[in-house]
């Protein structure tokens, strides 16, 4: 390969990332009749689904229960029957606002791909020990849960023998079971929150089935060991997450897994001057379009989802919208001064962050998350000081994203839309 060879390509819709979001976006854009290119950094398509070998995927989208690899395989098989271009082993390192993509490939060298529209589908990455500042030494044997999952489920390697897991999200719980089935001893799962953040089903089938203790309101306060992890201390925390002296428990272990949250991958988005939100992902309008016209976002790069089925539905939307952008198909409504959406009481964030096209009325899909668990609540959409939409919910928890389709009418809307999740009794008293 000559040192300065640059391979130039052109496409209609370039999709960065070949995981569940990229696959669904690609199929939707392809069906809308445009040329599609998927750029994937791994050696195969499927993304994180390939290491999520457990079942529970697809109940909404396929109406049957699949494993992660099965869910991915169905999309991969669909894509094989199309002329969608797939560039594997290709790492995108740059994206410009005028949609020039630079990628690196071991065999082809530098690729320059000129696209008419781009869909960001890079997914997310795990928060690490460093992100939550756990004290102690820095020995080998500290992994993020997803890293351990990849080692075991795809590379056939075991991360250790005696394990302590921090974080009771679904990944932490599922890894507790997986490690146990592979012959490792999981000593406990510690969770800083006063409740289990994963699904009840996972607590029952991953911890209770194997008598793995779950310490709620606890965190790791020390990691010991010089070359390899030799043990950890966990402590109970107070309401401000401060460790309580005298509550320490010691565990002898050689491995610690961190399952402490996910953050969208933003490096490429930032290069294209895309504005980010408190989701840590790009801000988008109701067409899932970022502040850069023709660059769309979907899946975990936009907001971290709990169900892949929602990722698929969101990405299909982005794929269709990107194709329509290229074909210059008029959007529903005329361009207006953007109406901002604001997360109000007990709401962590709202997607989309703004509404940009509206005539008289139209239906818009909103996704948002509660900050804390609550029962018997009412979800309120408020503009101009008036509630224009409300919906009762029996219970809400932060680990379950809420998706609502809401009809917006011009005459009801001011500059902003605020979304609240309120106690039903409290809401009644206020009116």
């Amino acid at each position: 390969m000559s040192s300065c060879q640059i391979e130039k390509r052109e496409t209609d819709v370039a999709i960065i990332g070949g995981g569940p979001a990229g696959l669904a976006a690609a199929m939707a854009a392809y069906k809308a009749g445009v040329k599609v290119t998927i750029i994937e950094r791994d050696f195969e398509l499927g993304g994180i689904l390939q290491q999520c070998i457990h079942n529970g995927f697809g109940l909404r989208y396929y109406k049957e229960e699949l494993t992660g690899p099965e869910y991915a395989q169905r999309f991969i098989n669909d894509i094989k029957n199309t002329n969608i271009e797939v560039l594997l082993d290709s790492m995108v390192i740059d994206l410009t606002p005028d949609k020039m993509i630079t990628a690196l490939n071991k065999n082809k060298g530098v690729l320059k791909i000129r696209a008419k529209a781009v869909i960001l589908a890079m997914g997310c990455r795990e928060r690490t020990r460093g992100a939550i500042n756990v004290p102690g030494t820095r020995p080998a044997g500290v992994f993020s849960a997803g890293m351990a999952q990849r080692l075991i489920n795809m590379e056939g390697l075991l991360p250790g023998k005696r394990i302590v897991i921090l974080g009771s999200g679904d990944i932490g719980l599922i890894m507790a079971r997986r490690l146990t089935l592979e012959g490792m001893k999981v000593l406990c799962v510690a969770e800083i929150l006063p409740y289990c953040s994963g699904l009840v089903r996972n607590k029952v089938q991953c911890l209770d089935d194997y008598n793995i203790p779950l310490y709620l309101g606890h965190t790791i306060t020390s990691i010991k060991g010089i070359r390899r992890v030799e043990g950890v201390t966990i402590s109970q925390v107070d309401a401000n997450w401060k460790p309580i002296e005298g509550t320490q428990k010691e565990f002898e272990c050689d491995t610690v897994l961190f399952s402490v949250g996910l953050i969208p991958e933003n490096e490429v988005s930032e290069k294209a001057n895309i504005k980010l939100d408190k989701t840590n992902g790009p801000t988008v309008n109701e067409y899932l379009e970022t502040n850069v016209p023709g660059i769309f976002a979907s899946g975990n790069v936009l907001q971290v989802h709990d169900l892949v089925d929602w990722v698929t539905l969101e990405a299909e939307n982005a794929g269709k919208n990107a194709a329509e952008y290229i074909k210059n198909i008029a959007r529903c409504g005329k361009l207006i001064t953007p109406i901002k959406t604001i997360p109000g009481e007990n709401v962590g964030y709202v997607v989309p962050q703004r509404i940009e096209y509206l005539d008289d009325e139209k239906v818009v899909k909103f996704s948002f998350r509660p900050r804390s668990p609550a029962r018997n609540v009412i979800v309120e959409f408020i503009s101009n000081g008036e509630v224009f939409y409300k919906r009762k919910k029996k219970h809400v928890i932060p680990s379950e994203m809420l998706n609502l389709k809401v009809k917006l009418k011009t005459d009801q809307l001011g500059k902003n839309i605020t979304i609240n999740i309120r106690n039903r009794e409290q809401a009644k008293e206020d009116t």
Binding site: P69, Q73, I76, G156, L199, V200, D209
Partner: protein
């Protein structure tokens, strides 16, 4: 296995499920997010009674989980000549929970040969349960 649709709750073969009159269990239904709290009990006449469910699926889950908990077998199998050293596999039906470790042992003793297609049977009639272990994905040869 328990046929929850056919079973006569007034006439359960308690010995078969290692249960006796007076046995009871409290647990949370995991079929949907409603998370109903179930109480299942063997009454004085040997009748099995489920309380706390709100739907048919919850009722059936209560009986199954009380008499004989079942779980999907999910693990990986060694594969020769594949693009990866292991392939994800699952059982085509749920396996009794108490047989999961035996089932894992069978899978660990088996080696698949690439290429494999999703759905290919890699272990036939697992532990004489009439259940297969199938590939969860395609795996091409190296």
């Amino acid at each position: 296995m328990v046929d929850v649709e056919e079973i006569d709750l007034k006439n359960v073969n308690l010995e078969k499920y290692d249960k006796k009159v007076g046995d009871s269990k409290d647990f949370v239904c995991v079929i949907c997010p409603n998370s109903c709290r179930l109480h299942v009990e063997v009454g004085p006449t040997g009748e099995v009674d489920v309380q706390g469910y709100q739907c048919k699926r919850g009722f059936e889950y209560g009986i199954q989980e009380f008499l004989q908990p079942i779980r999907m077998l999910i693990t990986t199998m060694k594969i020769e000549n594949g693009v990866l050293p292991v392939i994800p596999v699952r059982s085509n039906k749920e396996v009794p929970r108490e047989r999961i470790f035996d089932a894992i042992e069978v899978v660990n003793q088996t080696v698949a040969q690439a290429p494999v297609k999703m759905g290919d049977i890699l272990v036939d009639n697992l532990l004489d349960l009439g259940i297969h272990v199938i590939a969860s994905r395609d795996m091409e040869a190296k």
